[in-house]
């Protein structure tokens, strides 16, 4: 190799080294946003007024700020309960551990309830993760798949003379949530802008029923018997068997109570369909 050729090769090598591949550049850029890595700054020209680190700072500042703002809309009561300082700090820690992997920024904080349950704040304050679980369930109900609503005349027609063998299909938005703290009472107080009760762990967990009706997410407390029967109904247990199960709670008026629960589910659009059980 002549000296001239070697020099040209050196220039090409130096040029290639200063020109990262697109993949390497994007990896560097992402590290700079997520971890504060500074390598990218050498590849960015200043403008006539300021330096590359100030300009790149727009991306760094926007990243967490944007995601925390979106999370504040998804978890508004949790944000009000914690206050800005703690909410922002918890969310920053969450996103450091769990950067978004979803095309929709709304779902970037989907794992927040589970994170809070295991984070330091969750150990002393179980109501914090419970509030997050409640708000995530309400958001899930809001986005759930559309389904027809089962009304009473349709149910009567499907039942015919065989009510005992009816099985039910829940509205896809319906879900049951078990909370071990008084998070629901706190949630209600914050929504109503009244004084929140002191946080407390409940002796017995509280069942909340969450569903969507007329385009809005709803929540109500469900008693233990109704919650047990709803869980069975969702599994495909027949209406007749639901009556038998209710009788194990209290045999007096069991059938009447189950009929009352069913009426409530119909009236609140919590059921999508019913059919006669085809299993032997």
């Amino acid at each position: 190799m002549t000296t001239k050729t070697a020099k040209r090769a050196d220039v090409r090598a130096a040029d290639a080294a200063s020109r990262p591949s697109l993949a390497d550049l994007q990896a560097e850029f992402q590290r700079a946003v997520l971890d504060g890595d500074e390598q990218i700054l050498a590849r960015l020209p200043a403008n006539s007024r300021t330096t590359p680190d100030v300009l790149f700072g727009v991306y760094r500042n926007a990243y967490l700020g944007r995601l925390v703002e979106v999370a504040r809309h998804e978890y508004p009561v949790l944000a009000a309960y914690l206050g800005d300082e703690i909410f922002n700090a918890e969310l920053a820690a969450y996103y450091r551990a769990h950067p978004s992997r979803s095309p929709n920024a709304r779902w970037a904080a989907y794992g927040l309830p589970d994170y809070l349950a295991t984070a330091a704040i969750g150990a002393d304050h179980p109501e914090v993760a419970d509030l997050a679980r409640l708000e995530r369930a309400l958001a899930d109900a809001f986005d759930a798949t559309d389904a027809p609503t089962l009304d009473l005349p349709a149910l009567v027609e499907i039942a015919g003379a065989s009510w005992d063998t009816l099985v039910f299909e829940p509205n896809p938005s319906a879900q049951l949530l078990e909370l071990s703290s008084n998070a629901f009472a706190i949630w209600q107080a914050i929504k109503a802008e009244t004084e929140s009760p002191a946080a407390a762990k409940l002796g017995e967990s509280q069942a909340l029923f969450i569903w969507r009706q007329e385009n809005s997410s709803r929540v109500r407390v469900m008693g233990s018997e109704e919650a047990m029967l709803w869980t069975e109904a969702v599994r495909g247990t027949t209406f007749g068997r639901l009556g038998e199960l209710a009788a194990t709670f209290d045999s007096l008026d069991a059938a009447l109570r189950v009929a009352g629960y069913l009426k409530g589910w119909i009236e609140t659009a919590a059921l999508a369909a019913a059919r006669q059980d085809a299993s032997p």
């Binding site: 200063s18 990262p20 590849r43 300009l55 920024a105």
Partner: protein, 299 residues
């Protein structure tokens, strides 16, 4: 003929590469305004809906969009296609976007010339591309893939950027032009973004406009921004400023009659305020178009 039938017929015979119709003067669709739109049937020609807001299993947003689509044309405008990323497309993104487009029959589908993350992560920002040959070849291949997947006209928008790269080999407008010419994709020209990037990178906004092929631009965006003295941040939280209106006049002179929207993402004002701002765009465009134009001389 019902709206739905008319919609289906008008789309059935469309060539996916044919130039989209000029939809007139519209607004970015925001949930805060659903009731204003549905209760009052305001005189807005069309709406641009953020695709990802409607890529959900069900619920109110889809019902609202259904009702609005029955009355108005729409465009689906995304923020997470990440066309310039070196990462593979997110597993279900294009499939979900195609389902959404097949359901709502937009005039076209758009997103941004940018990337949003790599290694499976989404930074939820419209990140700048290096204007290199390598990046151009990569983007061209991805645009062709998306056009094949969606089977609909695709338009890409210039983003506001805060940094550029020392190893870029061409200008942003050269990159956009060659991308559009090689793929046949369309361009959404965000006039505010041109203004923001021109300030941030010390280039002449008019040179940008002059460098974009006049026949590829199918939509203008107008929006507000925040001036941070040494740079401008594209916030979409304010009214369109005078300098951007001036640049809009220049854009209409250059590109002629092009569909236009006001885009507002934060500090969302009452609906009527946006309609009033849109009227300003309409009058300004009509005034420019009524005068002898540079555009006519160019074409």
């Amino acid at each position: 003929m019902s709206v739905a039938v008319a919609k289906a017929k008008s789309n059935a015979a469309r060539d996916v590469r044919a130039r989209p119709h000029n939809l007139g003067f519209g607004l970015g669709l925001r949930p805060q305004h659903y009731r204003d739109i549905l209760d009052n049937d305001p005189k807005v020609d069309w709406f641009e809906a953020i695709s990802e807001n409607y890529m959900v299993p069900g619920g109110q947003p889809l019902r609202m969009l259904e009702q609005i689509r029955e009355r108005y044309p729409i465009v689906l405008h995304g923020v997470s296609m990440s066309i310039a990323s070196t990462a593979p497309f997110e597993a279900n993104y294009l499939k979900d976007l195609k389902s959404l487009a097949d359901r709502f029959e937009p005039e076209f589908v758009s997103d941004h010339l940018c990337w949003t993350g790599v290694h499976g992560i989404n930074l939820h920002d419209l990140l700048p591309v290096p204007y290199t040959r390598e990046a151009l070849d990569h983007v061209v291949a991805r645009v062709q893939h998306v056009q094949d997947a969606l089977q609909r006209p695709l338009a890409l928008e210039n983003v506001s950027s805060y940094v550029q790269y020392t190893h870029s080999e061409m200008s942003e407008w050269q990159f956009l032009s060659e991308m559009a010419q090689r793929t046949g994709c369309w361009l959404v020209l965000d006039v505010n973004n041109v203004f923001v990037s021109a300030f941030n990178h010390d280039f002449d906004a008019q040179e940008f406009l002059d460098g974009i092929p006049a026949d590829r631009v199918v939509q203008f965006h107008l929006a507000g921004h925040e001036h941070a003295t040494t740079h401008i941040i594209d916030t979409h939280d304010a009214m369109v400023c005078e300098e951007v209106w001036t640049l809009y006049r220049a854009a209409v002179e250059r590109f002629g009659r092009v569909a236009t929207i006001i885009e507002r993402d934060d500090d969302i004002p009452p609906y009527d305020d946006l309609v009033a701002e849109l009227s300003k765009a309409r009058s300004m465009a009509e005034q420019v178009l009524a005068a002898p134009r540079k555009q006519a001389a160019l074409s």
